[in-house]
Every structure is written in structure tokens, then in C-alpha cells.
């Protein structure tokens, strides 16, 4: 039986195009905020989540770089890369280090600086997350993959393209209450209906915007916390990772995000709960179709039905802040922005804010338990955590 691991400190930068800040400066800013929040705990190990720095900033070896720049020279440091799940993979590594008592205090930072390049260069870098020999070589991009799934979903389940509007509407409504979000304004259904296409049938509101940002966490065991620790304690009750085939075409049913189901089952089993026993779900809405496929793979909706949970009819949507299973409570990837390898750490920071009751305008009524999940590619890598308020 491994020890409890708690989140002692959280920090984040706003998500936007940080023209004036470098990768290392963004990381430092989030780390300093997390260190201050943790009351002076010093980490012995650093796990960095990042996906694009070697290509877009010509900078690999981020463990040593960030330890050095943040005044932590000498500590153990690594980079974790699992495409969009990189930050969540770094969190899982930090959890394992502290739970196994290989370290007493772990620092997890997710950082992405995608605005160092623009246009085709960024699309080329993003496409390296697919199968280079059999997908990317054909000119397929991550948005293209999502579009292929969306078109097939519409065909198989006979739904309207407009059915997907509910997901970005919820995300943008929630982003309005998050001071760190890239977009802080609700949108209307007409805006979705008239939006321009990225990769048909996928439009610009179906895809989360790539952005820069850094988020950090300090993890420890409860007995090691500084005296009079001021925040409500949040523990990592479950942690898991699962993989699926890298290429979408190698799956018997591409609309079945199987690794999502496996990863949630494993994380919930460790937390000794069922997926129905969570108060909210920070899911990976890089694309609105991914939100739908996630909810279906997780068992929250029947196949072809998840979009119904996002519709505001007579009552607020089930997935809205007022609903039974709020998602993307601080705007999700869609409105907070998608800072690549940092996203999984943002999700944990935001869930911790909810569980500490520090989520401001978007605060849920005294939530006890969160499910958070990040995807690499079309759920080829899936990292899931269950976070729980301890008192």
C-alpha cells in the first residue's frame, strides 16, 4: 500500500501568446507561484511536461534547463513527452516518485511555447504526434484526424453538425469566469453555425487554440507539509495511463476511444470509486468530437448520444456548471486555451482550485472529487487522475 500523495502547491501563468516571455521564463513564473503556495517546500525531483520545444524552440533537455534557470541546480530532473498528455504524464511521474517514497517532494511543471513559430511550421511539429510513416506523410494533421472522426460520427449516428456546438458554448461560458483563460467571453450558437472551416466538417470553434503557458504543482506526503498549511488538502486518489494504437487507422473501430475507458477504469479502481462518483470532469476538449467520444468511452453517455448532454434546452446542460457532471469548469482547452504539454498540469491546477473552493466565479458547490484526463493524439496516450478533497 503506497502512501497518500497530496497537492501542496499550485501555480499557473495566464494562457495566451506570450510574445515577451521565453519557455524558461514561463516555467519559472509558474514554479515560483507553486513554491509560494506550498509554503517553502523544496523539491528533490523535477518532472517537466512538454511536447514541442525541441522542434519549435530548438530546445531539448528541459529537465536540466528548467532546474538550472529556476535555482534548483543539483536536483533530479526529467522531461516527459506524450504529445497532448505530456503534462499529465509528468504529474503521474511525480505521483509515482512521491508515493513510492523515492522522493519526499516532487515539482511538476508543464510548459509550452508554441508561438516561437507560426503557420505551417507549427502544423508540421504538431503532426509529429501521429504515425510519421503512415499518417503524417499523407499530409494528415491532428485537426484532420479529428475531422475524419467527426465526419464518421455524423454519418454513423445520423446527427447534425450543429449538435457539436454545445461543447464550445459550455467551454466559452466557463472561460468567462477564469482570469487565466485565453478567451473570457461566452459565445452564441449563431457564431458556431457561421464559423469558418479548418478541416471540414471541423470549424474553428470545434478546435482549441494552441497557446503558450506554464502550470506547476508541488506534490508531497501529508506528514511532510509545513505546519499550519493554509489550504484545504487535495489528494491524488487515483492515477493511471493507457495507450492505444498510434495510428487511427489501426483501430477496429476508430470511434471507440478504448484507452479512455481503460485509463478511467484503472484510475477509479485505485481510488475505489466508480466514474459516477465524481463531482466534475476536466476532460480533453482539444476538439469537440473528442469531448463527445470521451464521454461515450467513459460510459457517461451511449454511443452517438454524448452531444445531448451539452444541449441547453429547458434546463441547463448536464455538462454546464449547473449540471450533474460539469466539464471544462475553467474553460477547458477550448476557452482557457491549449498550451500543449502544459495542458495536463493546468487541468490539475484548476481541479485543485475547485476542490479547495478557490475557483472564484466558477466555483462549484463544495465539490469533493474530480476526474481529470489528458489525451495524446486521438487518445493514443491517455492519462487520468482522480483528485479528492481530504477533509
Amino acid at each position: 500500500m503506497s502512501s497518500d500523495v497530496v497537492i501542496a502547491g499550485i501555480g499557473q501563468t495566464p494562457v495566451e501568446e506570450h510574445w515577451k516571455s521565453s519557455l524558461r521564463e514561463l516555467a519559472l513564473s509558474a514554479i515560483q507561484a507553486a513554491e509560494a503556495d506550498a509554503g517553502g517546500l523544496r523539491p528533490q525531483v523535477l518532472f517537466v511536461g512538454n511536447m514541442l520545444a525541441p522542434q519549435l524552440s530548438r530546445q531539448a533537455h528541459l529537465g536540466a534547463l528548467i532546474a538550472d534557470f529556476c535555482g534548483l541546480v543539483g536536483i533530479e530532473a526529467f522531461t516527459l513527452e506524450a504529445s497532448g498528455a505530456s503534462g499529465a504524464a509528468a504529474l503521474r511521474a511525480g505521483y509515482m516518485a512521491v508515493a513510492s517514497e523515492q522522493a519526499d517532494v516532487a515539482l511538476v511543471v508543464g510548459v509550452e511555447k508554441s508561438s516561437d513559430m507560426v503557420g505551417a511550421a507549427v502544423d508540421e511539429a504538431l503532426a509529429t504526434a501521429g504515425d510519421s510513416d503512415h499518417e503524417s506523410v499523407q499530409g494528415l494533421t491532428p485537426s484532420g484526424q479529428a475531422a475524419l472522426l467527426m465526419r464518421r460520427y455524423i454519418y454513423e449516428y445520423d446527427v447534425e453538425r450543429a449538435a457539436f456546438a454545445g461543447f464550445p458554448l459550455i467551454a466559452h461560458a466557463n472561460g468567462a469566469g477564469n482570469p487565466n483563460a485565453m478567451y473570457r467571453k461566452a459565445i452564441k450558437p449563431e457564431l458556431y453555425a457561421n464559423a469558418s472551416l479548418i478541416s471540414d466538417p471541423l470549424n474553428i470553434f470545434d478546435a482549441a487554440p494552441a497557446a503558450d503557458g506554464a502550470a506547476a504543482l508541488i506534490l508531497t506526503r501529508p506528514g511532510l507539509l509545513p505546519p499550519n498549511f493554509p489550504n484545504r488538502l487535495v489528494r491524488i486518489a487515483g492515477s493511471s495511463m493507457a495507450t492505444d494504437t498510434l495510428a487511427l487507422h489501426d483501430r477496429p473501430n476508430p470511434l471507440d476511444f478504448k484507452a479512455i475507458r481503460q485509463s478511467i477504469e484503472r484510475a477509479c479502481e485505485k481510488a475505489r470509486i466508480t466514474p459516477l462518483q465524481v463531482d466534475f470532469f476536466e476532460l480533453f476538449d482539444a476538439y469537440s468530437i473528442y469531448a463527445a467520444l470521451t464521454l461515450e468511452a467513459a460510459g457517461y453517455a451511449e454511443r452517438g448520444q454524448a452531444w445531448k448532454l451539452a444541449q441547453n434546452d429547458a434546463a441547463p446542460a448536464a455538462l454546464s456548471l449547473q449540471g450533474a457532471l460539469p466539464i471544462s469548469t475553467m474553460g477547458g482547452l477550448k476557452a482557457r486555451g491549449n498550451p500543449g504539454g502544459a495542458t495536463g498540469v493546468y487541468q490539475a491546477v484548476e481541479a485543485a482550485l475547485q476542490l479547495r473552493c478557490q475557483a472564484g466565479a466558477n466555483q462549484l458547490p463544495n465539490p469533493r472529487r474530480a476526474l481529470i484526463q489528458a489525451l495524446g493524439g486521438p487518445a493514443a496516450s491517455v492519462v487520468t487522475h482522480v483528485l479528492e478533497a481530504m477533509d
Binding site: 502544423d123 510513416d133 503512415h134 475524419l148 465526419r151 476508430p254
Partner: protein, 135 residues
Amino acid sequence: MEISRHWRLRKQRYGLMGEICPHCEAKLFPPRDICPECGGEAKTLYQFSGKGEVYSYTTIYEPPAGYEENAPYTVALVKLDEGPIVTAQLTDLGEEQVQIGTPVEMVTRRLRQDGDERGMIIYGYKFRPVGLGPH
């Protein structure tokens, strides 16, 4: 420049050469050496017919570097008659409206041109609607 890498892939790229599992007879494309159906070793070559139908498709308006000159272009998931699905560009579309279920066949076309001065051109499979003559 990655000449040796693309040379290694030439049989599958130009000829749609895959594998068949000697244990469970699953047909595999792209070749992958370990059968995903039964876990056995699968290295027996198998020639795919190059016929199939469109499983899904999309148009790429924001191409990655190396693909700008063709954009916008159509990428599909093609379900081969033998079972596997492959990712491939659709070509020679003319006025024809592609749909899910449209029958297609393999052709060899230029996939990309590397941006540097030596400009290596990569050829490989694409698919076109059947019933069209040679172009």
C-alpha cells in the same frame, strides 16, 4: 534528408505490400511484424489489391510544411477490400463529390517535396475514385 528511411518503406509505399499472419490469417497493412489479432509473429508478405472504399474523409486547409503547394487537399481513411483501413490522400477527384462509401483504387503519386535545396521528392500511394481512366 532521410533517403534510407524512405527507401526502406518503398515496397509498402509503391506496391501496397503488407503482411499476412501465418497463425490466424489476419491481413496487415501497414506491415507491423507482430499480429495485433493473435500476438504471433507475422512477417509473410501479402500483396493487397489496392481496392477499397472511403470510410471517412476531410479537406486540409491548413497544411503542414512540405504540403503547402497541394493545399487544400483531401485526406481519407480508406477501408481496403481485404479489411485494414489506411490513411491516404484522395486524388484525381475532378468534379466528383466524394462520399463515405465511394469505391476507390490505389495509384502512385507524389506525396511531398522536402523544402531544402536538394528537394527530395517522396512518392507513395494515394487513392482515386474507380471508373476513371488513367491520367
